[in-house]
């Protein structure tokens, strides 16, 4: 019965996704529906790889269009394959996940264009598209703080550095030929795509086998209460915010005594010393940024310090690497090291000085 239900349940999701990509996907899906999930995933990954290999060829507009179609079909097939087995057994997902699919396609299209575009500046701009789409995924996964810091740090800082270096070091396009040849010609495109495909097939087999998907769903449902309890425990570590939150629920509270992490119940006292109990709701949980901050400094203080040292070392290293190198002769180097200068006539004396 459940088997029957689950097979019915997958139908709407499948048809929804089949309507948007080209009809090639439909044919492929029909052909592949009898195979085991691992084989289907591998086939989909192979289609992606073939599309990517065609897209990387420098000449041939038709080949690239075919590659685009093939790549889109492969991506769509992978998404359908993974998502139709995604929902936990017994749960009915009426709503197809529109936003994850949209952000996913944006990120993948940006990434593919990034590695195929002949102009490095455009590749960097497409990488910004990838960053923004990934930040959207982060938002959907409930990581608001990381989403915004990703946009600020990556798109705002790291990519600007890349842009500057590109402009410092980029060779200007040659008239009549266009961009530099090493940007137009991929190196060993086919072998590279094969390596990527093998990795993707292995990864998707590990991530999306029926067993690991079921395990993941079970964990997702099981850890939900634990996650809330941890969030309450984090609120307990922030006394000022806890008092503020409790005051919002009951204005007469003067001091908070304890917070029960399991139920979110605050034991508090009013100004007269009378005990009060307030149950906090899910809206009163601290927001994601505060929680990440508390986690960062309470669980990983040493990591935070080491991160600071790593950044400082990178700063020094970059300054030392990028400064103008002055070529010194051996004689000048000896002089800088505090040793006696060599002269051409006094070679024997210089050797004695070196041995000293």
């Amino acid at each position: 019965m459940t088997e029957n239900l689950s097979s019915d349940r997958t139908q709407p999701v499948t048809t929804h996704h089949m309507s948007s990509p080209p009809s090639l996907t439909l044919v492929l899906l029909e052909a592949a529906s009898g195979l085991s999930p691992a084989v289907q995933l591998t086939i989909a990954a192979a289609i992606c790889a073939a599309g990517l290999a065609m897209l990387m060829q420098p000449e041939g507009r038709k080949l690239r269009i075919a590659g685009t179609v093939l790549g889109l079909a492969g991506f769509a097939m992978l998404f359908v394959e993974v998502l139709k087995r995604a929902s936990p057994a017994g749960a009915d997902t009426g709503l197809p996940p529109v936003f994850p699919v949209v952000f996913g396609f944006l990120a993948l299209a940006g990434a593919v264009r990034m590695i195929t575009h002949p102009r490095p500046v455009f590749a960097a701009l497409y990488f910004i598209l990838v960053v923004i789409a990934t930040a959207g995924m982060f938002l959907l996964l409930g990581a608001e703080f990381m989403a915004f810091s990703l946009v600020i740090v990556y798109a705002g800082a790291i990519l600007i550095t890349y842009m500057f270096v590109l402009m410092l070091a980029q060779q200007s396009p040659v008239a009549g030929v266009g961009d530099a040849w090493y940007d137009r010609m991929p190196r060993e495109a086919i072998s590279a795509v094969i390596v990527g495909f093998v990795m993707l097939a292995t990864l998707s087999d590990a991530y999306f086998s029926q067993k690991s998907q079921d395990l993941r769903n079970e964990t997702l449902v099981r850890t939900e209460p634990t996650g809330t309890a941890e969030a309450w425990a984090r609120l307990d570590q922030m006394p000022k915010l806890l008092l503020e939150t409790a005051r919002k629920a009951d204005a007469s509270i003067a001091s908070v005594e304890s917070l029960d992490a399991k139920t979110g119940t605050v034991s508090a006292r009013t100004a007269d010393g009378a005990p009060v109990q307030v149950v906090l709701g899910a809206d009163d949980l601290p927001d994601n940024g505060r929680q990440v901050g508390v986690d960062l400094v309470s669980k990983f203080p040493a990591g935070l310090e080491i991160a600071g040292v790593v950044l400082l070392m990178a700063l020094f290293g970059a300054v030392i690497l990028a400064r103008k190198q002055i070529e010194l002769g051996e004689d000048e180097r000896r002089g800088l090291a505090g040793m006696r200068r060599l002269t051409v006539e006094g070679e024997a004396g210089g050797a004695a000085g070196g041995a000293r």
Binding site: A123, A143, A157, V165, A180
Partner: protein, 127 residues
């Protein structure tokens, strides 16, 4: 059977019960994991196939991005914020790597006046 299915679908459409939220969460997580695997593979292909050294390092950033996405997705599965904290460390490493790698690229560019990584192919083992 058929009406029961429709009824259960309507139920899930109009009352977002806990299991339904978990189900959409599961789909988001799986989509994110898929995107992260694909981004990593694309970044690897780009790193192997591009000749421009700056683009090669940009591809490593793409792979960092993919692993960050996987970390956050798995953090969501376990309802644990450590995944998000690790992404902060990934950002740190990515920033340090960008600074150092770009310094090196500028240095190499000054030596050979080209960004082509093949210009340094005498460093490889001769077959």
């Amino acid at each position: 059977m058929n009406t029961a299915t429709i009824a259960s679908m309507e139920h899930s459409m109009f009352t977002l019960s806990g299991t339904t939220l978990a189900a959409t969460g599961a789909q988001t997580v799986n989509a994110a994991l898929l995107v992260s695997a694909l981004l990593f593979a694309i970044g690897l292909v780009g790193f192997l196939s591009r000749r421009n050294m700056i683009i090669m390092f940009l591809c490593t950033e793409l792979m960092f991005q993919a692993s960050a996405l996987a970390l956050i997705a798995f953090g969501k599965v376990h309802h644990d914020l450590s995944g998000q904290v690790f992404v902060i460390f990934i950002l740190t490493v990515a920033a340090a790597e960008a600074a150092l790698a770009l310094g090196l690229v500028v240095l190499l560019y000054r030596r050979r006046e080209t960004l082509d990584s093949e210009a340094w192919s005498e460093l490889r083992e001769t077959a």
